[in-house]
Symmetry: C2
Subunit: 296 residues, 2 copies
């Protein structure tokens, strides 16, 4: 599921994509409660995105672009004059992608839809149920971005006609998007990538992962001690999207194109630093997160 | 906005589209109350669609495909065994399209987004606000269809990369869909098309409209009496989609392809008859609605 604003306009003017942000499902939802959004985190994330996207053209006053009723809340009536006197900032070179967290995973794992087999009644039902759930989440994220004045448009890969085969994209559109990427990062609910599950008290945060020409990757810093130099990659039974192994492999594929990937905890000072673009030149000592980079 | 399920599968197997149903915005929403769905009508419509789509393979037990939480309601936990013992009916040759009613129109008319000019801040804001509103409606319609066991997938023309120029589609995809249509109809909140606004006590229901090769159309039955033989077409100020004139013109374009168009009141016995396909052969005396047909 992907949010992208003004895709048509962007393609017309050939503006390069400045940044692709992936919001981790665990960061924006309450992972242990079915279909519950982490409202505080989502608000912080959208506020940080506003700052990052609109640097230079920011006004103090946030003009909400969500003029819909909110459940249990009051109507949002726009003041037309505000929009004529103040620019809605240009930010059509940002792409926001998000995970599903406590949306979709229940429906997907109950039906096994991630394993394929749409001709089976249960899988077909699960496909519909999963899509309803993730579409609900997508809509709420679009609304949260819009309330921060970010002109965002929800885009579904399914509607775009994208398809996958063995979990890999099978579409010319992806190539176009990949080519346009300048930088990207992938926040999760922890500081970055660890050498073993972060719940393990001995887990060590990986600072830098190097990706080679052939797509293989290894940890550069810190230098891992002890018998196991390998990163222990486990996939939780309920994780229908492949767990960390898939996510690191995908990040490595992006890095191999020369696009740095930063994995940081959402809604923190570390995500602000990553969003600012400063990490391209220098990684400050106090910064906590994981950098995945191409090394020739 | 369009709902279409299993588009990929359908295109692979080249199944023809059996029917395109347009649900009028006024039929499925409460037109005078901002963003309020007409729940009773929507339920009736979805139930009728279930009957029409699944004839022959219908089971008495409706298995909901919406496994998401409902606001203020209980969770919907699926019973996996039900899906293994019972077929989720095949209905991938149906396309449902819907209007916006009290969703979207407020945001569109407030910002003038239907007149174009996306570079203006107010129009850009209105574009986002309108899309949020109509996407909310679309999601609720998909969920209502899913609760009737209809495996439906929301598809946004915007996400599909469709674009319009001067209110006309400018996309090869439309041609493919048009070619695949077998029959279609367009319900509104009245019985059909009238010779003047239906609120006028002298308004006469048009039974049959003939469309000619050049795209022009005229009323065949009833024979209109009096000085004005013309159909009086007015566009309400708040109607951002062009009013009846646009709708009849679009229906005429479909009819010119040899596809009969039926305009009926949603959730009535007349819509059941139209959905059954029987009108192709014979229009019963008691049936109330408007037929738009190509005449050589």
């Amino acid at each position: 599921m992907e949010l992208e604003h003004n895709r048509q306009q962007a393609s017309k003017t050939n503006k390069p994509v400045r940044c692709i942000v992936k919001l981790g499902g665990a960061a924006i939802t309450c992972k242990n409660e079915l279909e519950k959004i982490n409202e505080d985190n989502l608000l912080s994330v959208c506020s940080q995105l506003r700052t990052a996207m609109m640097s230079g053209s920011l006004s103090d006053k946030v003009l909400s672009l969500d003029w819909s009723k909110r459940p249990g809340g009051s109507d949002t009536a726009p003041v037309v004059e505000d929009f004529t006197s103040q620019l809605v900032p240009e930010c059509d070179n940002f792409v926001v992608v998000h995970g599903a967290g406590s949306f979709g995973h229940f429906q997907a794992s109950k039906s096994g839809v991630h394993k394929g087999g749409l001709s089976q009644p249960l899988v077909k039902a699960g496909f519909v149920a999963t899509r309803i759930s993730v579409t609900s989440l997508n809509l709420e994220i679009v609304r949260a971005l819009a309330r921060e004045g970010i002109p965002s448009i929800g885009m579904s890969p399914f509607s775009c006609g994208w398809s996958t085969c063995d979990r890999k994209m099978d579409s010319a559109d992806l190539t176009m998007i990949t080519k346009a990427i300048n930088s990207g990062f992938v926040p999760t609910d922890v500081l970055g990538v660890y050498d073993r599950p972060p719940s393990d008290p001995n887990a060590v945060l990986l600072r830098e992962i190097a990706v080679r020409e052939d797509g293989s990757w290894s940890v550069m810093t810190p230098v891992l001690q002890g018998t196991s130099k390998e990163v222990e990659i486990t996939v939780a039974a309920h994780d229908t999207t492949g767990g960390m192994a898939t996510k690191i492999s995908e990040a490595a594929m992006i890095a191999r194109q020369g696009v740095d990937v930063y994995i940081v905890k959402a809604a923190t000072s570390h995500s602000v630093t990553a969003l600012s673009g400063r990490l391209k030149d220098d990684i400050p000592e106090g910064w906590r997160g994981t950098v995945i980079r191409f090394v020739r």
